[in-house]
């Protein structure tokens, strides 16, 4: 499903869908069962009352409306980060730069709202500038790749460090109050806080609908626009894109910059919606968590809200278990690792069958190189050299 996933004009045939869902359901059940066993073992090793800890882990986000709000807020941040990553992955580029772009977006948004006079709606200015800054910061590796051929894994990774240090530097120099003992700005003016909606007891930040909107926007861009189509084609095959008159370079830098834009928005949303100020460590690895979320959905933007909410549930459940049962934080980290492995293991059954002596399905190993009939013919090896 990997490669053919890139551009599907219409949904897959319903029969295949149903089968996939059924198979997926079975696997999910097995995964969940396995995960619970692992969780319990980990908790038994570390918590005084493993059952209670497990309970608060699994039901934590629902134990109070405050916690539910917390879960949804965290999920919204994950969603934005995931959408940024899916954007660039769907365009066939590989960026690890969301983390840095989030910091830059937050910085721009924060610096703006800290310096602007307070007026209703000033938060929109912050969001806009955050997005713009993210766009520009994503443009850097994009242009480097499009015009310099620079490997984007290296450049985005390096830019993360530059962003991290730059963020600290600017807070240190310009934004932290004189009395501060730690690089952190003042709190923003409440007008710069992301508004939230109250539904009964539950407070839902604007971040959530906003993040869902972003996911839909990415989906629309990729599936329904010419630009998105071009990006997908450039990502799938540069020779093809060239031979059909597409603007390959523009596609490369634009997709990376747009991903930066969303990540920048994520940064602005985190600053205005969660921390309400700039503080060193603000991104807290959420850029990398975004990679997880995006990959869990195979880069399908419309599934990202689901994946983010599910992943956010575990994270928040873990936080609450930590708060209420005092299990070490690292149990949660370790658990996340196990869960991701369990969820992404795709072919346990096939493997077991293979072990039992049957022939394995022809496809194995990583995504490349494609099945034998697709291997680039000799002529492409020639031109490709």
């Amino acid at each position: 499903m990997s490669a053919s996933e890139t551009i599907a004009v219409v949904p897959r045939q319903s029969g295949a869908w149903r089968r996939a869902v059924l198979r997926g359901g079975g696997r999910l059940a097995a995964t969940v069962a396995l995960a619970i066993i692992v969780i319990f073992v980990l908790l038994a090793m570390s918590a005084d009352d493993p059952a209670a800890a497990l309970g608060s882990l699994l039901s934590g986000p629902f134990t109070s409306s405050f916690r539910t709000g917390q879960w949804l807020s965290d999920s919204a941040n994950l969603m934005l980060s995931g959408a940024a990553v899916a954007m660039v992955f769907r365009a066939g580029q590989f960026s690890l730069g969301a983390e840095g772009q989030i910091l830059v977006g937050a910085l721009a948004a924060g610096a703006a709202v800290l310096h602007l006079p307070s007026f209703p709606g000033v938060f929109v200015v912050g969001l806009t500038l955050g997005a713009l800054a993210g766009f520009l910061f994503g443009l850097v590796p994009g242009l480097m790749k499009a015009y310099g051929g620079s490997d984007e894994i290296v450049s985005t990774l390096m830019l993360n460090y530059v962003a991290t240090y730059g963020f600290a530097l600017l807070i240190n120099r310009y934004l932290q109050p004189a009395s501060a003992g730690y690089p952190v700005s003042d709190f923003f003016d409440p007008a710069a806080f992301l508004p939230s909606l109250r539904i009964g007891q539950l407070t839902i930040g604007l971040a959530l609908p906003f993040a869902i909107g972003c996911c839909v926007a990415v989906w629309y861009l990729i599936n329904w626009t010419k630009t998105g189509f071009e990006m997908g084609a450039v990502g799938a095959s540069v020779p093809f894109a060239q031979a059909t008159g597409m603007r390959v370079r523009r596609s490369v830098w634009l997709s990376m910059a747009l991903s930066g834009l969303i990540a920048g928005l994520a940064g602005a949303v985190i600053a205005e919606g969660s921390t309400h100020r700039l503080i060193v460590g603000l991104s807290a690895n959420i850029g990398f968590d975004g990679i997880l979320v995006a990959l869990l959905t195979a880069n399908r933007p419309l599934l990202i809200p689901l994946a983010a909410v599910a992943y956010g549930y575990i994270r928040t459940g873990g936080d609450i278990a930590q708060l209420s049962s005092g299990i070490p934080r690292e149990v949660i980290t370790t658990l996340q690792g196990f869960l991701i492995l369990a969820v992404t293991a795709r072919a346990p059954l096939a493997w077991i069958r293979h072990r039992a002596g049957r022939r394995r399905p022809a496809h194995g190993g990583p995504v490349i190189p494609g099945p034998a009939p697709l291997r680039a013919a000799a002529s492409s090896q020639r031109t490709g050299s």
Binding site: G181, Y182, N285, D319, L323, G326, I327
Partner: protein, 328 residues
């Protein structure tokens, strides 16, 4: 470490230590946990630690969660938590908050249930600097060469650590103005390799005493000191108690800022119901929480007159004699 929520005396207040970061930083947070736990055990209080991790977006919600729980005394540290604690304090006037490492003024906050603790990190730095200066002056001290350079290494480049470093420089200037002071930040509290690099570089540039205030990064500094036969001055009692690297004594002593003592004191007062809410105490030499540890190597290698001089400086410091050079 975590979750020792048991063994509380029902009549006494339950205490929560809220860590906006993670334990195991080898310094500040670990230190605060030591103090709170020690007092809790001593007094038979129910004490628990809540560790939220380094993600700042989690801090406010987590503290709200804790404040809404059963703990009567909530202990929170670091500058970044100030407004968050103030908001929680407003929302939960029935709870007592201990805010350490930053000051909350009731006038600004509009709340009267916060007891603030400040630390004079620069005093510890000053003492370490004075010791370094005096060691050079004394002459004939083991591992102290004829060079005239000492060094100081910080973790992240943040104001708290800048205090240590500025204090160190002031201490050197006070006792031995001709000494040259090298300084550097590792950029992290958990990168001993960087610490080792910085220390090795300073040593190769002639430094023979290194003061370190860098959390987990300290390990690398101490390691380099051991390797190249110079002295490290640490910042915690643990380092002073366990001064060896690979069988070789490397940590001469520690210039301690004892967060644990201040917090143990706060817990004690809270248990007794005498927590001076609405006030701020600045802990330092005066409260005997900033001092040079009387460790084995200190007693063995530091000449008696130098130790006497340090004793004297500590006393003078408690009397406010150096405030003019120390206060930011």
């Amino acid at each position: 470490s975590n979750g020792s929520a048991d063994g509380g005396d029902p009549g006494k207040p339950a205490v929560a230590l809220f860590i906006p970061g993670q334990l195991g930083d080898g310094g500040f947070f670990d230190n605060s946990q030591t103090g709170v736990k020690e007092a809790g055990v001593r007094l038979g209080l129910k004490v628990r630690t809540v560790e939220t991790g380094p993600d700042p977006s989690k801090w406010a919600p987590a503290l709200n969660d804790v404040a809404g729980g059963d703990d009567q005394v909530i202990i929170v540290g670091t500058y970044g938590m100030k407004q968050i604690v103030e908001q929680a304090a407003q929302a939960h006037p029935e709870k007592s908050f201990v805010l350490y490492d930053v000051e909350s003024t009731p006038a600004e906050c509009g709340c009267h249930n916060i007891y603030s603790i400040l630390y004079r990190y620069s005093e510890s730095g000053f003492l370490a600097g004075a010791l370094a200066g005096l060691l050079h002056k004394a002459g004939g001290v083991e591992r102290i060469g004829s060079g005239n350079t000492v060094g100081v290494i910080g973790g992240q480049d943040i104001p708290v650590i800048q205090d240590y470093i500025n204090g160190f420089k002031a201490g050197v200037a006070q006792t031995n103005p001709s000494l040259k002071v090298l300084s550097g930040y590792a950029g992290s509290f958990a990168d001993p390799v960087k610490g080792q690099n910085l220390a090795a570089q300073m040593i190769s540039d002639g430094a023979d005493v290194l003061f370190t205030a860098a959390g987990g990064t300290d390990k690398g500094v101490i390691q380099a000191a051991a390797e190249h036969d110079v002295w490290a001055i640490g910042n915690s009692l643990t380092q002073a108690d366990d001064p060896m690297v690979n069988g070789k004594t490397a940590v001469l002593t520690s210039a301690v800022t004892s967060v644990d003592t201040s917090l143990a004191d706060a817990v004690e007062k809270a248990a007794a119901g005498t927590l001076p809410l609405g006030t701020t105490v600045r802990f330092g030499a005066k409260q005997k929480t900033n001092y040079v540890a009387q460790s084995q190597p200190y007693l063995k290698y530091v000449p008696e007159p130098v130790r006497g001089e340090i004793e004297k400086i500590t006393t003078e410091m408690a009397d406010g004699r150096y405030d003019s050079v120390l206060d930011r």
